[in-house]
Amino acid sequence: MNERDSFLRRLRSGLWGLPRSAIDDIIADYEGHFDAGRAAGRSDADVAASLGDPARLARELRAEAGLRRWEDERSLTAALGVIVGIIGLAALDLFVVLPVLVSVVSTLFAFLLLGLVTALGGGLMLPFAFITNLPGFAGDRLQAGLLSLGVMSGGAALTALCILFTIGLVNLLVRYGRAHYRLIARGSNAPLRD
């Protein structure tokens, strides 16, 4: 197997998980590059070495695809794609960012859960005016209903706040990711041309 095939194979395997049309498009770009290199009288080995590491290229292309998807659709899977893509970039300062990220995300998740449970609890209590039966509750049914309503909307507000915060956080991550694209170095055995 020659260098051209092995470069394209490694690139393709690195792009695994992207939509098929996107992969074909990317591969076609690099095939065209090899063709143009041949036409210019360069060997496949020379072209492959000048292109740089296909695994690194694939990581960057994948990360960018993930960030794009988030910008197109604000869904949970797209948000996960951003996080996976950024971890794939494996920037050095990720070791600093990752613990912070993990604690922020877990706190956020806890608050989100709390908000959901509160909203659900308030909603369940509302129709039954359940609290009037609790010992120590002196109010009438109307007060109980209003209290349940208050709890429910409080929970819903907390949930909404958490979602807004999550969107902001992922947007921040997108900027972090973009700042960590690198110039992919030419291979070590690539000849320098002027």
């Binding site: 063709d35 143009a36 590491d53 110039l183 041309r193």
Partner: protein, 111 residues
Amino acid sequence: MDSNLVQFKKGVLELCVLALLARSDSYGYDIASRLSAAIDMGEGTIYPLMRRMQKDGLVSTYLVESSSGPPRKYYRLTEGGRKNLNAQKAAWTDFTRAVAAILELDLEKTS
């Protein structure tokens, strides 16, 4: 490579591509080989960048039949790309002029 230098080069790469395309439409291999000599980067870097610029609406593509092999993908500057180039060029010129002035000041002091 010095990491500072890498950041400089990464920053101006897009500007260089815009400037090349402002002169004439071009294809990936041509852009990559012209820039890789000047900026000392892997030629493969150009394709992720071109995809990003295309999605940002700075460049558009069209296919040209070639005598040998499959048709070639050419990149052309869009109106938005031209505006972006002018803005970046002005910022770059201002910035380098300011830096050069400071560096020369330093030179006069030491000599």
